[in-house]
Symmetry: C2
Subunit: 221 residues, 2 copies
């Protein structure tokens, strides 16, 4: 079983690493981190520098394919970057094609979410709707071989759910135990319906600013 | 504010990345990934290859210092590796010295946990007790400038708690919202008191085997 996580510079680290940590604990699974080109990828804060040894062309037929989110995903989806083609061509052969956060935009650009409910980061519901997806506030949407998760941390819940689907609930429970995933968030502020309004507004502003800053940096390079 | 995350080959990725993701979202904080030497570090599955540009010597006085866990941490703690000296020398000057999972063993080896309650991965309570720490099943222990978290995923809860301590609860709530950390684990199996006994036994066996496999690999290199 090959599990491919498709990366790009400007991805959000936790979006990729939550599922990575769950999948890399599945006995017999080969997890492959891949990108359009081999080399070093920088995350959205340009603080994490990850060496990637496989290209999309090296992994044309993964059993599980997952795309993390990140500020760069918006432009990649709009511009039909190579990652979009990879998803489109690989999807007919996968057992599961999945996304975390704004990774759903790339699945959408590949035509996978038309008229389907799909989860994404709460700040990007409207952006995802542009690709024909139906709006939902669900944390995880499991459809016909397509699984989408909400913002960053939802990737852990998503990956455990997929492991239960393809390898059975006992293994998923074991991995959950191995990672001691018995969450105790210090606040009840993890979704816009639960957080205080001023905090939602501030975070929305910060996300927009971050995305613009990021887009400028991409253009400048 | 400098937040240093001290790494080593054989670390568990999520242990580092959960806190990394939270801390890198703190405005004005400089997050530094550092190790004994610069270069590429491999995680415990040898699937993640991270470029690290700073050494411990480059970050002698971080405001926040955090050590993730991983199978290599046991040997590093026992052998008083350079990471132990770094923690010992930096700790008197930090605002918080913290660990996730078996990273607590390194804090213990540095003499920080003597006669203190400290959290660690549930499978390593006895190992941590060798360093004088008091056994506790808490997910997070916040003491006098020392904060310890349980297994891997506890790093997210730990880091949000620390942000609330040093920057206030509003920012911590905002980061929790930005990462959409409103967990919905698919099972209630994230701690040994909640998981079924056969699953606890199987995971314990797998962790022991993984650790031995890892130790062999280290010796062979």
């Amino acid at each position: 079983m090959i599990i491919a996580i498709g990366l790009y510079s400007g991805f959000t680290t936790l979006d990729a690493i939550g599922p990575y940590q769950v999948f890399s604990t599945v006995p017999g699974a080969e997890v492959v981190l891949c990108a359009a080109e081999t080399g070093t990828l920088d995350d959205d804060h340009n603080l994490m520098h990850l060496r990637v040894d496989a290209t999309f062309a090296d992994v044309p037929r993964p059993d599980i394919l997952l795309i993390p989110g990140g500020p760069a995903s918006l432009a990649l989806a709009r511009d039909s970057a190579p990652i979009v083609d990879w998803v489109r061509n690989a999807h007919p052969h996968t057992r599961w094609t999945a996304s975390v956060c704004t990774g759903a935009l790339i699945l959408g650009a590949a035509g996978l979410l038309d008229n389907r409910p799909a989860a994404t980061h709460w700040h990007f519901y409207d952006e995802l709707a542009k690709y024909g997806a139906q709006r939902t506030e669900e944390r995880i949407v499991i459809g016909d071989r397509i699984a989408t998760g909400a913002g960053s941390s939802a990737g852990i819940d998503l990956a455990l759910t997929l492991v239960a689907e393809f390898a059975g609930p006992e293994l998923a429970q074991g991995i959950q135990l191995a990672l001691e995933y018995d969450p105790e968030p210090p606040f009840d502020s993890g979704s816009p319906s639960k957080a205080a309004k001023p905090i939602v507004d501030t975070v929305s502003f910060m996300i927009d600013a971050f995305e613009k800053e990021y887009s400028r940096a991409v253009v400048r390079d």
